[in-house]
């Protein structure tokens, strides 16, 4: 649960980074980059097995997007698909036996058990949907007209800009963190057999949380760029 804090000084200010999160994050990113590189090296009309696998992931995301967002949604695929793949890889990394590699403090677990990581992703989503909404609707993004209902809705939207990233960040963080606490409690109770079903459940949770983050991102972008409010 403890993180490996590293403090450095830059321009008379001290910054602290969580080194274990950084290491596992780059490991997850390397996994994704390597996977995508190998999968897209030789693209053919008659696809290989790996290409079929990637195409089905993309088809899954396209199907979800078509059901949740208005038309002209293909330009949002890069953000949504990379968020989904990264969160999935990062969550599943918590079940790898990386803890046997000893570092100075803390342990190598999934990077999403650090709230800084999930908060950064939530802020990216916030900025993305606000900018997408402004590009799509220009000055009518927040305030459609000057009626009473529109002004009330503007304040609700402004409030949602705070609560949406907060809930996105804490939901993902708390799920992964609670899973790790649960596994460690089960490990303390009986060492060999009780943690296994809990870890299987954590694999399910990893998929569900990645899907939930992706679907909520889609819903936010769809709500910001759609015609109706």
């Amino acid at each position: 649960m403890e993180h490996w804090l590293y403090t450095f000084h830059l321009m008379d200010k001290s910054f602290t980074v969580n080194l274990d999160t950084l290491i596992t994050m780059w490991f997850a990113m390397l996994c994704i980059i390597g996977f995508s590189f190998i999968a897209t090296r030789k693209l053919e009309i008659i696809p290989t097995k790996l290409q079929v696998c990637c195409e089905s992931i993309l088809k899954l995301i396209w199907g979800l997007m078509d059901s949740m967002m208005p038309s002209d949604n293909r330009k949002h695929v890069p953000l949504i698909a990379s968020l989904f793949l990264f969160i999935l890889f990062a969550n599943l990394m918590g079940q790898l036996p990386l803890r046997i590699i000893h570092i100075k403090e803390g342990e190598l677990a999934s990077p999403t058990n650090d709230i800084n990581m999930t908060a950064a992703m939530a802020v990216i989503v916030l900025v993305y949907y606000v900018v997408a909404g402004i590009i799509k609707k220009k000055e009518k993004f927040l305030l459609k007209d000057f009626s009473f209902v529109s002004i009330i809705m503007m304040f609700v939207d402004l409030l949602e800009m705070i609560t949406r990233p907060l809930s996105l960040a804490i939901r993902l963080f708390a799920n992964i963190f609670a899973g790790e606490v649960l596994v460690s409690i089960a490990l303390a109770a009986t060492a060999y057999f009780l943690p296994l079903p809990v870890m299987l459940f954590e694999i399910l949770v990893a998929f569900i949380q990645a899907t939930v983050f992706m679907m909520l991102t889609m819903a936010y972008i769809g709500g910001a760029t759609g015609e109706e409010h």
Binding site: R171, A174, N175, F177
Partner: protein, 73 residues
């Protein structure tokens, strides 16, 4: 003061888990209703159920984070 923090942690996770349990129970009831009425939508309904259950469960996990912060003091 520390004892009160422990009490608060227990109360927080207890009430949070109550709400999340109620929510997931209602969601499961809805899933059962839907499947028994229309068995052919089972695959699609389970997907939506899992997402909804994850959203309901998140409320218990907010309480868990609060409880953990109280215990870590």
């Amino acid at each position: 003061m520390e004892n009160l923090a422990h009490l608060g942690a227990g109360l927080a996770i207890g009430f949070g888990a109550t709400g999340a349990g109620l929510g997931i129970g209602i969601a499961t009831k809805g899933l059962m209703d839907a499947i028994s009425r229309q068995p052919e939508v089972a695959g699609k309904a389970v997907g939506f159920f899992l997402v909804g259950a994850a959203l309901a469960e998140a409320c218990a996990l907010y309480a868990f984070v609060i409880a953990f912060q109280l215990l870590a003091k």
